[in-house]
Symmetry: C2
Subunit: 175 residues, 2 copies
Amino acid sequence: MEEKRLIQIYTGDGKGKTTAGIGQAIRARGHKFKVCFVYFFKNLQDFPYGEVEILKGLGIETINFVPRHPHFYKNIPPQGVREECLKALESVKEIFEKNYDMVILDEILIALRDQFLKEEEILELLEKKPGSLELILTGRGATKKIIERADLVTEMKKIKHPFHRGVKERRGIEY
Amino acid sequence: MEEKRLIQIYTGDGKGKTTAGIGQAIRARGHKFKVCFVYFFKNLQDFPYGEVEILKGLGIETINFVPRHPHFYKNIPPQGVREECLKALESVKEIFEKNYDMVILDEILIALRDQFLKEEEILELLEKKPGSLELILTGRGATKKIIERADLVTEMKKIKHPFHRGVKERRGIEY
């Protein structure tokens, strides 16, 4: 029986979007799905995200696009970031051709929020999703039209976050 | 430097609570944390949750309490479930003594929502959390007092869910 594969979105200002994406990747891989985890705006070279080596070790493809967000790397010109994002979109379309069962586009919605990508460019990407692919988008910044186009949307809503009390990003928890 | 370990809660009616817990477990394990994933109300014997074998293979302890919820197993008397939950709480206190860096109590808040455990019983458990332990509770049903006691709380809010359109639980995605 072929199962229906959907578009999922995890958005909102609370903790748990990327971690839910990782959880989905692991669950799918446990059923031998072919999974690709695509990171946007995370510099895996500079930051030792705890999950990356585990994902790789389990045979989950990991790809890193637009590693430097101008918010954190002040000398990066925004126009260059837009070009990188457009190039990444083209690469994601190629990834769509590779018969994955699940692709996670982690933090891609940040590109929309920060105007490196346009809503219609993301919508056009979603049109290209193969029927056999479960596609997961994470990041603050889902728009009404993108939510309309998706099948499953969860808003991670911050009720409480200790960064407000001055707790810094913690190894093994936030990265 | 000893880092501060906290109480995290993932609650609400949206998808992503357990998967965020799995993601946290994986990230922590990637940094060689000692991790224990405790399932409540999930029958791992009957349902092949995709992540379980992977968690085990990575050296994450997995434990299964109260596997049968009366909502799904109609012949289970609620009083027996309360007793099982109380026994599970005692076992969790023993787990707290075992020097884990992270313990996930998946769906434990369902016990509260469905009145198998009392709020003060959960609060008493939280008082027993060692300072060196990151404790994660998931499930619908977090109360105001439990949210007050926690350090980090995310509400997973359902914006859209395909079960409403008749999409059934899917292997590799929902389990």
